[in-house]
Symmetry: C2
Subunit: 243 residues, 2 copies
């Protein structure tokens, strides 16, 4: 249990350091956070639209999707998340959830009281800036997704989504373009790109046929990264990854 908490804090610090530089006191502050580790099954709702939010969830392992639903019942995924992501910074200073987050695989979560994070953000400005930067980068990704679903065709849209996912996995130190596991179903790809499963399937097979990628089951491989980026109109600048 203590081991779990220690590794959760390590993960949190490592990941936050991608968004800022910390001195020893900053790290001490982070290490003093109280948190509660939990293992949850696939499909677990981390937060649901309309819920009051008073804690913040660190994804310690597995994948998650942020989504909203239309009155028609259609679901739209607005971002994916991986190991190390803080899933609830979006609601850090808001009282009620305006969207939902669900894990896409069996996952390990660590809950942190929101009030402690907020307090720390002003006690240790470097930590606050890293958290805020994280929010700003999330927002940048949302904007790119508006463009993606609003102005690109099916082929480009899917290629773009895959490029982003791979780029973020690599930045987080999880796998590379040379063979990786896509932890999502075609239904989820459809929900992320604003398409139907049928058309996602057709488009993936077309990309495969054109040697832009190859698939077998969940295993994907990208032979020519530059080509996929070009098909997907993908420029990683909007991810604001540190140089």
């Amino acid at each position: 249990m203590l081991g779990q908490n220690a590794s959760a804090l390590d993960l949190l610090i490592d990941n936050l350091e991608r968004f800022g530089t910390f001195n020893a006191e900053d790290k001490d502050g982070l290490a003093a956070l109280s948190l509660q580790v939990e293992r949850v099954p696939r499909g677990f709702d981390v937060v649901h639209e309309g819920d009051p939010v008073n804690r913040c969830c660190l994804l310690m392992g597995g994948f998650a999707a942020r989504y909203k639903e239309a009155a028609s019942g259609a679901r739209q995924i607005v971002s994916f998340h991986l190991r190390g992501d803080l899933l609830d910074v979006e609601h850090l200073l808001l009282d009620f959830a305006d969207h939902s987050v669900q894990v896409m695989s069996e996952a390990t979560l660590a809950w942190i009281p929101k009030a402690e994070l907020i307090r720390l953000a002003w006690e240790r400005p470097a930590v606050g800036k890293a958290l805020w930067r994280m929010c700003l980068i999330d927002a940048s990704i949302f904007r790119e997704w508006v463009l993606n679903v609003g102005r690109r065709n099916a082929r480009t849209r899917i290629a773009h989504m895959l490029c982003e996912f791979v780029a973020r996995c690599e930045a987080a130190g999880l796998g590379t373009a040379q063979g990786f596991e896509l932890p999502m179903t075609q239904q989820q790809i459809a929900d992320a790109t604003g398409m139907t499963t049928v058309h996602v399937n057709r488009t993936l097979r077309a990309l495969d046929k054109d040697h832009a990628l190859s698939r077998s089951g969940n295993q994907f491989r990208i032979h020519d990264w530059g080509r996929l980026c070009s098909i997907g109109d993908f420029d990683p600048a909007y991810l604001h990854e540190a140089a």
Copy 2:
């Protein structure tokens, strides 16, 4: 000149207070910000994708649109902004712009050095929280737009965009649903909803014909707000307006 600066600061404080409560010292801190007022013509680029960003722009009058462009040249507007909005909080802690902002009408801007705002955010936590909340709410709007362009049909999409625009105008104290001026062209509505002008035109006329709204030139009137909300699948919860 001094008068302009004073009114800019008043506007900034009034608008920020929608996102938090300030005491006298908070307001003093804000009032001490240095700023530079400028009048710009329609179409002026407040910031352009790729630019370094080291100042923050307050929109003192007029309307603005935040947008990105695809390789195909298609433009996607990702949000609209009105008098009182801080246009560059999205880049507050980022070095380079990942998108562009353009004014849609003749407009008055006030520039604030980013560094001063950042310093103030930690000196006066109430100010920092209000600024951060503003960012989070912007992000919530982006998410809603992903849903809007991803999962709604033309009629619902346009109705939703109009509802949001009117709701935000009312919250900012600019006009009401009973007759207001839409400061954008059908081309801009198309760019915001991921459609073509032709189809925007058809859809607007259909909404007009069905008495969901009435138009003459830029003048819009909404007779039955509830009905338009229902057509547009609009629930203002995601705007997180203070009760």
